[in-house]
Amino acid sequence: MMAALIFVASLATLWMFFVSYCRSLMAASSRHPLSAEVRDVTGIRAVASAGDYRRVVQLLQLCPERQEDRTGLQAVNIYHSFLTAARQMFAWIVPSLRSWAEHEQACCAYFAAVALDRRIAHSREMLAEQDNL
């Protein structure tokens, strides 16, 4: 009984820390302005929307990977999946959950767009280096 109680409590704190960790990753890139090119290609104007995430991820898969953003993207991807599941399962019980989850998914989309921006810049740098050689 005690073990079950500790298990449930620690799962709750694990979830809380995981959400905060993902939010801190997203908060760190929220000040990064998107380039005009990424805005055009993703269709994101001033703010991202929840529906942008999948499209941005598809674009990300077309770019060469950067080691630095891989784990961050994986964590945010898991977070996005949890949000999708929570929206589908509980939004009819708690209507405010829908708008909260949509806001969070929009933040995930912006984070992915910043990663896309960095990958494009990184690819450009690599090409420039190759040209110099």
Partner: protein, 231 residues
């Protein structure tokens, strides 16, 4: 002798611990996060020591068992010091360093006293049981302290990205550890559970290293974005 999966996790964990130390030296943050480095360096030393004893005496030997439990208690104490050093950094601007120090000593003595009181009831192998009990209780205290520290970070609107992510990684580590301990207690027969604790041991230094690699001491984040419900 542990299997190939155990050994892989073990070596990876040790490599990540060294990676963090290298990263913090490269970022010129070794002294800034001295206790974190001390913990990971101690952990690396203990890992090498454990491996040598395991190699020469075997997993079932008394020597390995004693070394394992005593070094574990020592590592938990060092991790506790690392956590307190994070408290000092968060509360540094409030000049509450003295209070934090005394609070930590009081908490440590209290936990040691409680552990002794629990162990004193059983007569056999008092010192080993005490080391084990102290280690477990300090992990629980660590989880609670990290939770409180996170509350303080939100309240004080902390903006230092490195510090925030180091604290969050520690929170994830402690919560994961507590969950896996509880899981072992009621369903220890599943083999996968055996790998969760060592894998978590890899997660903490890896996550800290990534934080060091990604962000500089000057990196800042928007504190309002950290709270789950926008204010």
């Amino acid at each position: 002798m542990p299997g190939p999966v155990d050994l892989t996790i073990w070596f990876l964990g040790t490599a990540f611990e060294l990676l963090f130390v290298v990263c913090s030296v490269a970022r010129k943050s070794f002294l800034r996060y001295f206790f974190l480095n001390l913990y990971l360096l101690s952990s690396t030393t203990v890992s090498i020591g454990r491996f040598l004893i395991l190699w020469s005496c075997g997993q079932g030997s008394d020597k390995y068992m004693y070394f394992y439990y005593y070094s574990d208690a020592l590592l938990t104490l060092t991790l506790f010091c690392a956590l307190i050093s994070l408290y000092s950094r968060v509360f540094g601007e409030l000049r509450a360093g003295e209070y934090v120090k005394w609070g930590a000593v009081f908490l440590l003595l209290g936990t040691a006293g409680f552990s002794y009181a629990v162990v004193a009831q059983s007569a056999e192998r008092l010192s080993t049981s005490f080391a084990y009990e102290l280690s477990q209780n300090l992990y629980f205290v660590g989880l609670v302290l990290t939770y409180i520290l996170w509350g303080a970070v939100l309240k004080l609107r902390e903006t230092r990205t490195q510090l925030v992510q180091i604290i969050l990684s520690l929170g994830l580590y402690f919560s994961g550890y507590a969950a896996s301990y509880a899981l072992v207690n009621f369903s220890g027969k599943f083999i996968i559970i055996r790998y969760i604790c060592p894998a978590l041991g890899c997660f903490l230094p890896l996550s800290w290293s990534l934080t060091m690699l990604r962000y500089t001491e000057e990196s800042r984040l928007v504190p309002a974005h950290l709270v789950a419900v926008p204010r």
